[in-house]
Symmetry: C2
Subunit: 495 residues, 2 copies
């Protein structure tokens, strides 16, 4: 069945948009108002503008920008044979095509919808990679996913509305939830066999909501990080995604899908082999068909999925660029809020990103190829770190195990404490051992929505292989971590 | 008397910070927690990080950026003899000094306080140009003044709080005011003799507030655009500023000073003379001593002024960069909110701006010199437009007069309608004449906070000389405007 317009659907999702957002009003001052025109009025074909306080572009002191672009990430250390000399782009005051952003356009005021070439790229990318299964979707740029999360909270949640979250999650989002007066409620994850979202728990929770939570409204939204869940590293199976979407339809809630690094799909861990790093290379078609996880957007027939993307993890965080895809009415709400809070994203960031992608990488397919190059670097670094851990005495002694590390930039590491151990107390103590050995990690319990709810599952660490300087450092960090764990267990969980 | 710390003052301004802002709570997850360390714990001197999800900079595909910088705005048309060939800067992955931002730093995650070199520049600039008259001030970058206004509203205003505004003002700010549930109340401007803020009206309003407004709380803030007031073009005299600050002290409110283009100080209108455009050149010292208007910050001894600046008008809007200066406790509130809404501003924008200013312009003094070059271009363009109007038949016939155009990028143009004219009705009709002649302007009444309050003063236009392509266009726009007015008056205010 081909995608249809949600206008034909009843009920629409409009009742799930926040009252705050719907009641917002805006005053403008510069728009032409042609009501009540005299009978013989005929507008001039070429009006001159003395209206907006928009500086002429000749005031901007930049005449040309040249950017030297790398052909691969870590090209000097991981891909030394693939360096392209003179691989640069030049940006003039005026763009040479509609796919390019000129300096004058980038440095001028822009719309919250993004500059046309940037928006055009995002639309084409979404169309190709994560196309929603209905007609009237839209998207809007953000200043990165932190900003996107706040905008999603504003668009959906009113005071005392309930939002469900995976029990361990990206905790800064709860700051935005509390900021709009809504209530975060955790739901269970399943840590067995690679882990997944616990669908049965969610179903039971929703079906018995009013008995279980007599003082709370039924949830209006479910926040998910379905691929390389932060901080556990687990990934929702396709069946889980289908089932959760079905529950969203039955119990009428919005799914906020946060997917910052899901593009980094990683094969099973193997021994790191720098010389043959390209053995993991795959084509864009193969990647899209068999590797990339299915976005909830692609299951969405009713406009109830809001997908948050960021360019932070697959290009660079300092751009402060991301985007949200969802139903056009929700995006319209976010557009209104954006006009109050952030206004348009940085034009210089849009210029740098869009021109590199369209003029150098080669558009949507070229950008996907760049993502696949990023993926190669992440596969290698993941292998270096995890291999260092799984060849350790701590791993061999079954003191720790890997929850999941098949995508993204995190691995969840479970500490196999004896039954009855106070997870939080022991993790806190173990952390001093980590600091003594010289390795910083994130303690799982610090990312619990409600530690009382999640105490028994809080026996894990989040480790990240994105930041380390080089392979040696990753290997050394893995050793320090494993050695600290080994000593801690050998010492009966004492410091 | 040298500046003192406001800590010694009673009362402090903390009670003027919004309850929303004060009650905001934050959860973090990655911070080291050294409480309860074992007795023999000794941290490793060189820990390796597996904690934050921060990509290594070698993932970023940009190796070098070269920017060709103009020596003057409009250098080809207004300053053809001052073109410097090869006037470029080169930015490498790593900055060469603390005053420079490297690519790796710009493209990485950053703090809401701004990258160190950018923040350092803003602090030095404020110290030199608008230093507050107390010790414990601070500043924070914004994504431009639209964002800054929203953050100021959040920091100060709770639901049902009252904020006073100049009766005609930058209307989009009222969207942000209503968004936090506060109430905008207009206060009077004085249009005689070049115009000024009407201090007597404000004083009377405040002294008799509860009789005049029995259902409203006493104002918590006053929003001002004191230099080249938008849309009237008028500028507060020094005496007005002193008096308003005194009223703020007596009646205990915050002054939100919005000053987007006050740096563009313009001498009286004269006949445009492109060949001698540099006759208006002045030194930085002369500019600071005798031309630049006195910021309310410099009068502030108690931390009750919040000054909003933007780089949009003196550098480029597309950067989406500005900053707010104020009491450190208010800035702390804004910092917390920034961590929810915008996060850090674009690193690429900070890189472009900071490196051009520090490596090419030459730091604070060089930036002020750039502002003085912008000022020269604005003086010339203002002269072209206004000269075209004041040499017109409409002006000679006293159908219109100039309210003020001695700074910034706007002029207020008063239509000398006969007494008893319905200003709004006639301006609406006149606007069709403008559109027929081919010139777009802003109608004053569209920027009234409350049109009932301001109907009798709503007989003016805002015209802007920033956007036009060239002198010819400005001259032509001035003619079209004047001719439309002339015909309208000749035709007894009929179309």
């Amino acid at each position: 069945m081909s995608p249809i317009s949600t206008e034909a659907l009843s009920p629409s999702i409009d009742h799930l948009i926040s009252k705050r957002s719907k009641s917002r009003t805006f005053r403008h001052f510069g728009l032409a108002d042609l009501e009540g025109a005299p009978a013989d009025f005929k507008p001039h074909p070429k009006p001159l503008s003395l209206s907006f306080g928009k500086p002429n572009e000749q005031y901007f002191p930049i005449d040309k920008i040249t950017v030297d672009v790398d052909n691969y990430p870590f090209q000097k250390t991981l891909f030394p044979n693939d360096i392209l000399e003179g691989n640069s782009i030049t940006i003039q005051r005026n763009g040479e095509s509609l796919q390019e952003i000129g300096i004058d356009e980038a440095l001028q005021y822009g719309e919250v919808n993004g500059l046309p070439a940037f928006r055009d790229f995002l639309l084409k990318f979404t169309e190709k990679v994560n196309k929603p299964n209905y007609h009237d979707w839209d998207l809007i740029p953000t200043n990165g996913s932190g900003d996107g999360l706040n905008k999603a909270a504003d668009a959906i949640l009113d005071p005392n509305d309930v939002i469900l979250l995976e029990e361990f999650t990206f905790i800064p989002f709860t700051n935005a939830i509390r900021n709009v007066g809504a209530i975060p409620v955790p739901t269970k994850l399943n840590f067995d066999k690679g882990g997944d979202f616990n669908v049965e728990y969610l179903q039971d929770l929703l079906e018995n909501w009013h008995q279980l939570n007599p003082n709370l409204k039924k949830p209006k939204a479910l926040y998910l990080i379905p691929t390389c869940q932060n901080p556990t590293g687990l990934t929702h199976s396709y069946q889980t995604r289908e089932k959760i979407y079905e529950l969203a339809q039955i119990h009428d809630f919005i799914i906020i899908e946060d997917d910052p690094y899901g593009y980094l799909t990683l094969p099973p861990v193997s021994k790191p082999d720098l010389a043959n790093i390209k053995d993991f290379d795959i084509s864009v078609d193969e990647y899209l068909a068999n590797h990339l996880n299915h976005s909830y957007l692609k299951l969405d027939t009713h406009g109830r999925v809001l997908r948050l993307e960021t360019l932070s993890k697959v290009f660079a965080p300092g751009l402060r660029l991301g985007f949200i895809v969802g139903h056009s009415n929700v995006i319209k709400s976010i557009r209104g809020y954006s006009n109050i809070v952030t206004r348009a994203p940085s034009g210089t960031s849009q210029l740098i990103f869009t021109n590199i992608v369209t003029k150098k990488f080669g558009g949507v397919d070229g950008y996907l190829q760049w993502i696949l190059k990023m993926r190669l670097a992440y596969i290698h670094r993941r292998n270096v770190l995890i291999h260092s851990i799984i060849t350790s005495k701590a791993y061999e002694s079954n003191y720790l195990s890997i929850i999941n590390c098949d995508s993204g930039m995190f691995a969840g590491i479970k500490l196999n404490f004896p039954q009855g151990t106070d997870n939080v107390e022991k993790l806190k103590l173990l952390n001093f051992k980590f600091l003594q050995y010289g390795v910083n990690v994130v303690l799982g319990f610090k990312m619990a929505v409600d530690l009382d709810f999640s105490h028994s599952n809080a026996n894990f660490l989040r480790i990240c292989f994105a930041a380390a300087e080089n392979d040696l450092e990753l290997q050394e960090a893995g050793s320090r971590l494993s050695n600290a764990v080994f000593e801690f267990f050998q010492n009966d969980l004492q410091f």
